[in-house]
């Protein structure tokens, strides 16, 4: 959860040889770019009014101290909002967002304490929002994530049996966990169970027990679609079983991606985006291009800044199902093959009942924390000295020398002026910094003697001025979500919404799965896919995905709940 990169930033700092900092990250770093375009030097994040250069040890040290203080304030801020449930965002969406993040970015290093050493930073996720985080490169490139088959081609995603309880060493529970492997011998297993290998395409999807359970949901969806296609005999055999299996796989995978993209657009985005921004992007607002010569580039301000808002939604405890006690986030983070190989496969108490994660009733389920400059959790250090998740996000966001919020807003005034005018923190002429006053006032208010932060962590008036003038993006996105009037922390503010919407709508618009024809909604897309899948001209009138009609509700709206209900009825028919 903590990192979307593969290597801890602290370990990276300790092991790498010094390399000069990148002058221009967008040119040096494969798969990344800056939002809109590469900012000029004077448009980048500043510290005390001076352009921040992470390779300058003095500036880095100053930044570390400042971000630690700000992280401390966010963590211990006793704002009453942090205990109020966010009825708009049940916690399932926190982790759906994490899947989406994993499907947009898979970076080779993380940057929070890289001290500007960004050489080697690259995004290896080049086909965004196509569930590469679930499918990897497919069965031939990533066979361990797929179920072995009598036919050489592995068309089904792997699932593993769960355990009834902690003493169940024969894994007698239902197939509701990801598959987990071992290199232990039979005698070693008899002495000590150890399943240290998560057999999945993206190892980050076993970074805690909720995300691995969400991955199970996607594996089930794929397998369910594939089973239905096979059962119905919709695709006539060709005489080549390998080719048939591959055709089934491709049809199921594409249907799955269409469903997933509709979930993002129809369910996730309306919940997380400011209503005006969502409406604008659904109608006339055109996203900036993030594809260069057909290659996807992830905007750094999005990956290392705005999209980190999901971390503010994390709860301290989660109820996985009605029979089990609530688990702490620390226990949940530990329940993985990597960290607890003897405590997996998951036992019954850890199998998620998604009704508890997609319910808006705080008494019935796990509703997320409101988005704002507060946090219910610190999420401890992964490595001693690295700082908690909040501090890492703040440092990571400035290490990439991003747009300053002020210059970013100025750049958006031409294209998004009407939207910016809707925010009390953003409206104003070019060059104005309307958020600076409210942020300074808010920070000052938090530092009254009766507040509880301690002298050593107290921001000075100069530091408050610095943060108010040029706030680090993860702080700004929390601040406007939580404190701009009307949001109440239930969704993103205007600027956060613009950047998140622009990146995601940009992918959806510029990376088309189907030929650019007018299709209206998921069922039309599936019908089009069906026609494209069927080889024989006389078959083209049939819709092989007709069984997916009930993955939406009666008003043809798709949501995580309807997908969950679809799976429930198809996997466990009455």
């Amino acid at each position: 959860m903590a990192s979307h990169g593969a290597i801890s930033s602290a370990r990276f700092r300790k092991t790498t040889n010094y390399q000069p900092p990148s002058k221009d990250l967008s040119e040096d770093s494969g798969g990344f770019c800056h939002f809109i375009s590469t900012p000029a030097d004077e448009q980048r994040f500043t510290l005390d009014g001076v352009r921040f250069d992470p390779s300058d040890p003095a500036q880095w040290e100053q930044a570390e101290k400042l971000m630690e203080k700000l992280a401390h304030l966010i963590r211990f801020n006793p704002d009453k909002n942090k205990e109020k449930p966010n009825l708009n965002l049940p916690s399932g969406y926190t982790y759906f967002l994490q899947i989406v993040a994993h499907d947009l970015v898979h970076s080779t290093i993380s940057t929070s304490l890289g001290e500007g050493r960004t050489s080697g930073l690259s995004n290896v996720r080049q086909i965004p929002l196509r569930l590469e985080t679930v499918y990897g490169g497919g069965p031939t490139e990533c066979p361990h994530a797929y179920e072995a088959s009598e036919i050489a081609f592995r068309s089904k995603l792997r699932l593993g049996k769960s355990r009834i309880d902690a003493t169940d060493q024969n894994h007698q529970g239902p197939k509701k966990d990801i598959a987990r492997g071992t290199t232990s011998t039979a005698s070693e297993l008899a002495e000590k169970n150890s399943y240290a290998e998560a057999l999945i395409a993206d190892p980050r999807n076993d970074s805690h027990a909720i995300i691995s359970q969400m991955l199970v949901l996607f594996h089930e969806l794929h397998n369910c679609i594939l089973n239905e296609l096979a059962r119905s005999g919709s695709l006539h055999p060709t005489g080549n079983s390998y080719a048939d299996a591959q055709r089934l796989f491709l049809a199921a995978r594409t249907a799955c991606i269409l469903i997933y993209r509709n979930l993002i657009r129809r369910d996730l985005l309306p919940r997380i985006l400011h209503g005006d921004v969502w409406e604008a992007y659904e109608t006339e607002q055109k996203p900036f291009r993030s594809f260069v010569k057909g290659e996807w580039r992830a905007p750094l301000e999005f990956t290392n800044g705005f999209f980190r808002f999901g971390h503010s939604m994390i709860r301290q405890t989660y109820r996985f199902n009605a029979r089990a006690p609530a688990f702490d986030i620390e226990q949940i983070l530990d329940r993985t093959s990597d960290k607890s190989p003897s405590d997996v496969p998951l036992e019954a108490a850890w199998l998620v009942d998604w009704d508890l994660f997609f319910s808006s009733d705080p008494d019935a389920g796990n509703v997320s924390t409101r988005i704002g400059p507060w946090s219910q959790v610190g999420i401890g250090e992964e490595v001693p000295g690295e700082g908690n998740l909040i501090a890492r996000d703040l440092l990571s966001s400035i290490a990439i020398q991003p747009w300053s919020v002020g210059h970013l807003v100025d750049s958006l005034r031409e294209t998004h002026g009407r939207l910016l005018e809707k925010s009390e923190f953003l409206r104003g002429p070019r060059g104005s910094r309307p958020w600076a006053g409210p942020i300074a006032a808010w920070l000052t208010e938090r530092l009254r003697p009766e507040e509880t932060f301690g002298e050593d962590n107290r921001l000075s008036s100069e530091e408050i001025k610095t943060l108010a003038h040029d706030p680090p993006i993860p702080f700004f996105v929390r601040f406007e979500a939580g404190l701009d009037s009307g949001n109440n922390g239930e969704r993103l503010g205007i600027l956060g919404s613009i950047v998140v919407a622009d990146v995601i709508y940009g992918v959806l618009r510029h990376d088309r799965l189907l030929p650019d024809v007018a299709v209206d909604g998921l069922q039309s897309e599936l019908a089009f896919l069906s026609a494209a899948t069927l080889v024989d001209a006389e078959d083209r009138g049939r819709n092989i995905f007709a069984f997916l009609a009930d993955i939406e509700d009666r008003e043809r709206r798709i949501s995580m709940r309807t997908v969950r209900q679809f799976l429930h009825s198809h996997i466990n028919p009455a």
């Binding site: 029979r323 089990a324 609530a326 702490d328 019954a348 509880t452 932060f453 002298e455």
Partner: protein, 167 residues
Amino acid sequence: MTFPRINVKNTLGNHERWGKLVKTWSTGKNYVRHVITNDAPFPITVAADPEFPRPGSFREFVAQAQAAGVELFFVDGVDNPDVTGREDIGFQMIEVSPGTHCVKLPPKDKIEESEARLQLPGAVYGLPDFYRRIHGTLPLPEQTSSQSQKAALHAERVGEYTINTCG
């Protein structure tokens, strides 16, 4: 109004920060800001104007914990919310003289509350994370999973922290 038991969160470094704060209150030396090294494992000097004087109220107690970076929470078994210091909770700090043996009995209802929670399916007896650092392993499932193993461990731990009070 009664509140659930308070504990320190089981995150990396949190128990160390908590222990340093306790030692600071006890000795007057600032362990919290002291960086442990092989050459200087413990602080030596007692500050005339201590940053962490012994707290006189619950609010001050929590404020100092937060200032030291210690995360405190209420063990309610449902939300485990943060302790903010704004709760209406009394506070008493007891210093025991070397000539007295102090046994601080855990409240009956807190013990029974823990026992009830341990019997729920999937419940584990959590140990502070620093044991993993020391022993190189999480608590072994084969030693901590059955109801009888959890009951024995509960008794062992209650006994351990009741006698190991430095008092």
